[in-house]
């Protein structure tokens, strides 16, 4: 009995924990719509002054203000449920311009560029994933204006060299910030969009004017990261070497000689990615030194390269889902799930009586654990994902049924209650394990199929199905067993004399 008691305590704790995780955010005082949360999502390091913007559990054991342990809890709803736009893009990387070993990084850089651009649109919840070798899947929940979104994403990167002369020590403050430049304004004028919200949010120089763009990425011939000594006999350090196209060399020489000793900002899509100081007059090229390691040097080189030789993106597929359609789907799925589960619970208790009640409790634990896992992992909840989960509920009781049918047989064969329970759980285990395993294997194959660009909805179904089957191995056997032994212990006399309670 003591093992069962220990399991009972464990299951109790598990239920409390999962219950907390599953509870809707609103019950926990989380107000994601508060104004400060908008800022927080852009910069998670700021203090929200007691306002809870997410459901994360943060433990600060020594009270020093920095969390020692953070448990991430979030409910990710898929695009088909919240509505929005999903775009599959193919990056046509010029294999002449990028070394084969750089292709992967060039893809990552392209993804970063897209991220920067969609963030500029105010879409903080956008996700960008690489699929296959040169495909990117961009999900933009809540996007209404499809044309604007797609054209923003497809925009080729704008690389600018901006005059930071006279900024002195303030230069560092601008790194990583978005600034407004003369070139951006000129481009906006050309496109006829004028100064839109995106440009308005960008920072101006200390006197309130746009920064002045000196050159664009068009002057660059190439850029690459190097590990070599900069001075004769020095230690090798990471730096970036760049070359200027011949036709711009004179202008570049004139500018650098007039601004020697002053900082010059490298700005990609409005964001200051670096602001090196011009050490000497340059003409056909030069190097950028700084506190670079291998990653940051290669990254900056790629950013320069992608600014100089933009990677065109072509749309290979798109999904647009209206917001209301998604809402209707959520409501319908929840209703279908509740009805289905209710019928299953009723069936089990009517058909199997006391063991059925134990299975019902186990099924409730099963649902709780699964829902908690969805928020902990987190699993993006889509319609196929919900369906996979519901199907796994339908099959979750299979394990219990195998066990109960065994128990009934053993009881009919004249065994006493305890022996019948032991035999039932023991003998059904191989069947349960093997049969779950075969479906898990299929689930894995589905998951990999779902990694194919264009078949991504499949992976949602596969993930929830696999999770469900694993959780089921635990709940169908251990949780049911714990409850059933508990019932058997509490009502030993009654159960022994009234076999119909055992479903016979």
């Amino acid at each position: 009995m003591s093992t069962h008691l220990r399991w009972l305590v464990f299951i109790g704790l598990l239920v409390v924990f999962c219950g907390y995780v599953v509870a809707p955010a609103a019950w926990k005082g989380v107000t994601p719509d508060a104004e400060i949360c908008e800022v927080y999502r852009r910069d998670p390091t700021i203090s929200t002054a007691g306002v809870r913007c997410d459901e994360n559990v943060v433990l600060d054991l020594n009270n020093d203000g920095t969390p020692d342990f953070t448990l991430r809890i979030s409910q990710n709803l898929g695009l088909d449920l919240v509505g929005g736009l999903r775009v599959l893009l193919r990056a046509d990387i010029d294999t002449q311009a990028y070394a084969p070993e750089d292709l992967q990084s060039a893809m990552r850089e392209t993804a970063n560029n897209i991220n920067r651009r969609v963030n500029g649109l105010g879409l903080t919840e956008a996700t960008i994933q690489q699929q296959g070798t040169n495909l990117l899947l961009v999900e933009l929940p809540g996007v209404r204006d499809r044309e604007q979104a797609v054209s923003t994403i497809q925009q080729t990167a704008l690389l600018e060299f901006v005059d930071f002369a006279g900024l002195g020590a303030v230069t560092l403050d601008y790194e990583g910030r978005s600034i407004l430049t003369t070139e951006q304004l000129a481009l906006a004028q050309q496109r006829g969009t004028g100064v839109d919200d995106v440009l308005l949010q960008r920072q101006r120089d200390p006197s309130g004017n746009p920064f002045s763009t000196v050159f664009t990425g068009a002057i660059l011939a190439r850029a690459s990261a190097l590990l070599a000594p900069i001075q004769q006999g020095g230690l090798p350090v990471w730096h970036i070497a760049f070359e200027i196209k011949p036709e711009f060399q004179e202008a570049f020489a004139n500018y650098t000689s007039s601004r020697t000793g002053e900082p010059m900002a490298i700005v990609l899509d409005g964001e200051v990615i670096s602001a090196p100081t011009i050490r000497q007059a340059l003409s056909d090229g030069g190097i950028i030194t700084g506190d670079f390691d291998e990653d940051s040097a290669k990254r900056l080189a790629l950013q320069l390269q992608s600014g100089a030789l933009p990677i065109p993106l072509t749309v290979e597929g798109a999904d647009e889902v209206g917001a209301t359609l998604g809402q209707v789907s959520v409501e319908r799925s929840i209703r279908a799930g509740l009805i289905g589960v209710f019928v299953v619970l009723t069936f089990m208790v009517v058909y199997y009586r006391v063991p059925g009640a134990a299975a019902d409790l186990a099924l409730i634990v099963f649902v709780l654990i699964n829902l908690a896992l969805f928020k902990l992992i987190p699993v993006t909840v889509t319609l196929p994902a919900i369906t996979g989960f519901l199907i796994s509920i339908g099959t979750a009781v299979d394990g219990n049924i195998l066990i109960f049918e065994r128990i009934k047989e053993e009881l009919r064969a004249g065994k006493d209650l305890q022996a019948a329970l032991d035999a039932g759980f023991h003998r059904a285990w191989t069947s349960i394990r093997d049969s779950n395993l075969s479906t898990i294997i299929i689930g894995l194959i589905l998951f990999f199929f779902g990694q194919t660009p264009g078949a991504s909805i499949v992976s949602g179904f596969a993930i929830t199905l696999i999770l469900g089957l694993f959780v089921n191995l635990f709940t169908a056997v251990i949780v049911t067993r714990t409850f059933l032994y508990l019932f058997a212990h509490l009502g030993r006399q009654t159960l022994a004399t009234r076999q119909w309670l055992m479903g016979i």
């Binding site: 279908a336 299953v344 069947s431 078949a455």
Partner: protein
């Protein structure tokens, strides 16, 4: 017109096979499931053969076994709800033709008088889609909140098709391997494994047949979710067969005196409660989803439902009878050795 003829031909084939099977069945008690195996083989054939005929016809006329969705061949699907009446098949077709796509398939969904339309056309870039939408909005304002659009380029479609073939091939290999491993301790493990695989193929053919029939009757299209359903069916099919074979494997040493068919029959009846109870629970959930759930997964659930049904059916009525037929040497080219085996087990 062609479809009507095909439907009649296919129905005639199904009825013919069934009638022949029933007319020539052995006169034994209905409870002796295994002894009735010949009849069950005919029932399976009555579903599979018409399916094969439809798929063959489809292969000859369209070059593919099924009506394929844009997931596999590329294209665009629009789900448009107008805020007012006024849209007709003709004026919608004119808008698409104006954008250079004159092969669109247009359907009014949601019953007569509904303002909701579904259009399937060629793959278009973003600007063209926006232009089409602007044009459509001149017919009647479009409700953008319930608008849904999906487009897949042909090259992505090809990639998905390739991945789909790979997935099916891989699943077949892995499942066969799994069966052999699961039954490695049984004499003639290969036999059990192959019979389970045969049942799995049976289920695949049945589900594919049903899908092709639904395509013929209701224009259902095979998409990535259909493949998901097919593979899930494979998993369930194997799951059911394993449970049943487990029971036979357990009963053989316990009941050495009995004829093999009786042991097998007993095993089926012992596990039929479990099969029915499990089926019922899965059906409760699936029926709930079909009746109350989102419409996008309805077709998927239907196929899954059919697959689960045939999965349970085939374990009892295909896998096991096949095993018995094999063990008794009834299969052509397969030597049965039931006598030696029972003797060996007794020793």
């Amino acid at each position: 017109m062609n479809n009507t003829i095909l439907t009649i031909v296919v129905a005639a084939i199904a009825v013919g096979i069934l009638a022949y099977g029933i007319a020539t069945r052995r006169r034994v008690s209905a409870f002796e499931l295994v002894q009735n195996r010949r009849l069950f083989f005919f029932i399976s054939a009555a579903i599979i053969v018409p399916g094969l005929v439809i798929m063959g016809y489809s292969l000859i006329t369209t070059g593919a076994l099924f009506r394929l969705s844009i997931d596999f061949v590329g294209g665009s699907i629009y789900d448009i709800t107008f805020q007012q009446a006024g849209a007709t098949e003709d004026n919608i077709r004119a808008v698409f033709a104006g954008a250079g796509d004159d092969g669109v398939i247009i359907q009014n969904i949601g019953g007569a008088g509904s303002n909701r339309w579904s259009v399937r056309g060629a793959f278009q870039d973003t600007e063209t889609i926006e232009r089409i939408l602007d044009q459509l909005a001149t017919i009647a304002p479009i409700d953008r909140n319930s608008f849904q659009q999906q487009s897949v380029s042909p090259s992505i479609g090809r990639e998905v098709t390739q991945a789909a073939f790979l997935a099916v091939l891989f699943a077949a290999l892995v499942v066969t391997g799994f069966m052999v491993v699961a039954f490695r301790q049984v004499p003639n493990a290969m036999r059990y494994g192959l019979c389970a695989v045969a049942a799995m193929l049976h289920d695949l053919l049945v589900v594919m047949g049903i899908m092709s029939l639904m395509g013929l009757l209701f224009g259902w299209e095979v998409d990535a979710l259909f493949l998901t359903a097919i593979l899930t069916v494979v998993g369930f099919s194997v799951q059911d067969t394993i449970v049943l074979f487990d029971r036979i494997r357990e009963n053989i040493p316990l009941r050495l005196g009995e004829p093999y068919e009786t042991i097998v029959n007993r095993s089926i009846w012992e596990s039929i409660h479990r099969s029915l109870a499990t089926q019922l629970n899965a059906f409760f959930i699936m029926i709930a989803i079909m009746l109350f759930g989102g419409e996008t997964v309805r077709q998927f659930i239907f196929i899954l439902f059919a697959g689960l049904l045939t999965g349970s059916y085939s374990s009892i009525f295909t896998a096991v009878p096949l095993l018995v037929a094999w063990e008794k040497g009834e299969l052509p080219f397969m030597k049965g050795d039931l006598v030696e085996e029972t003797a060996a087990a007794a020793a």
